[in-house]
């Protein structure tokens, strides 16, 4: 996966910060942020995750005029039932997020234009009482700014479960 243009915008940062319960003015008040050492509005530490908005093929977003969305509408799911059903736990088969790691090399600021490239990392398996066989896979995403500088390295670990996780 590659994202060619991840526009870091102040209003997006404001909305993202609100959604994670962060009232820090460095994320929404330009006048305040200008007076800080950082010199302007910056992105919160997990903001890079919202690069999904800029991935044209991101599979967890309904596509305009595209193929059916698997969430509910008239029916409980818009997806066609799969033949090799097994106990795949419906949406659980797509995988859950097991781990996420960020390394911050430079601050991400409102006005930055980032690119992101993702490479697959390690894969491994594990047995679990709560969800059957677990298949883990890692992906490493490098975010670079408009000057070509590496700003964030993000490592995600996804897990595919055999069935829905017992709570």
């Amino acid at each position: 996966m590659a994202i060619e243009k991840f526009l870091v915008e102040a209003s997006h940062i404001m909305m993202f910060a609100r959604s994670v319960g962060d009232a820090n003015p460095i994320y929404h008040d330009e006048d305040y942020a200008k007076e800080t050492e950082l010199g302007g509005i910056i992105a919160p530490p997990t903001f890079a995750q919202s690069s999904a908005q800029f991935d044209p093929d991101y599979f967890l977003r309904p596509k305009i005029g595209g193929e059916g969305w698997f969430g509910s509408g008239k029916e409980a799911s818009g997806a066609k039932p799969s033949k090799d059903k097994g106990g795949d736990g419906g949406g659980a088969a797509m995988g859950l997020h097991a781990e996420q790691h960020f390394e911050y090399h430079l601050p991400v600021k409102a006005g930055d234009v980032l690119t992101a490239t993702t490479k697959p990392g390690n894969t491994w398996e594990k047995e679990s009482k709560r969800a059957g066989k677990l298949k883990f896979s890692e992906s490493v995403t490098e975010y670079r700014n408009q000057n070509g500088e590496l700003v964030i390295t993000a490592t995600g670990v996804g897990v595919q479960t055999e069935r829905a996780v017992d709570s």
């Binding site: 997006h12 909305m15 993202f16 609100r18 959604s19 994670v20 319960g21 962060d22 820090n24 460095i26 800080t36 050492e37 950082l38 910056i42 919160p44 530490p45 997990t46 995750q49 919202s50 690069s51 999904a52 908005q53 991101y58 967890l60 977003r61 309904p62 969305w69 698997f70 969430g71 509910s72 409980a76 799911s77 736990g89 419906g90 949406g91 659980a92 797509m94 859950l96 997020h97 097991a98 781990e99 996420q100 790691h101 960020f102 390394e103 911050y104 601050p107 490592t155 069935r163 829905a164 996780v165 709570s167």
Partner: protein, 139 residues
């Protein structure tokens, strides 16, 4: 930023991240992050098709809420690293408390940094996130 002469190994910082998590906040996160997986916002799909008792929060929402606690503690632009494991799901109605514990104060690439152990627990004292972070401190 944390100041070296004001902190020591073993210091902790805790904060309530969210009380009685609302489905609407999960929707808010879906909209902001762009992750519209129906498992987080579509009760009908999640209960009838995916087989979960209700929708549940994005792991990244829990990490984001925990990140708010973390940056309120270490200051803006101070984080060098922040990583977590999602150890349990977070459900609507949950109340989450985040805790950061200083485990080491050391030097890295010419900076003084602090290593933190992170844990976010729900109202039943079950860990939903465990992780670690490294932040630059003032000398």
């Amino acid at each position: 930023m944390l100041k070296e002469n004001e902190i020591k190994v073993g210091d902790t910082h805790t904060a309530i991240l969210v009380e009685d998590l609302k489905r609407t906040q999960i929707v808010q996160y879906a909209g902001a992050s762009g992750d519209y997986n129906p498992l987080h916002t579509d009760e009908i799909f999640t209960t009838q098709v995916a087989g979960y008792p209700s929708v549940f929060a994005h792991g990244m929402l829990s990490m984001g809420l925990t990140g708010t606690m973390l940056t309120n503690y270490v200051g803006d632009g101070a984080l060098k690293k922040y990583g977590v494991r999602f150890t349990n799901q977070v459900w609507p109605g949950d109340t989450l408390t985040g805790k950061a514990t200083i485990i080491e104060i050391r030097e890295e690439e010419g900076y003084k940094v602090v290593d933190l152990m992170i844990e976010t627990t729900n109202q039943n004292d079950v860990a939903v996130i465990t992780g670690n972070a490294t932040a630059i401190i003032e000398t």
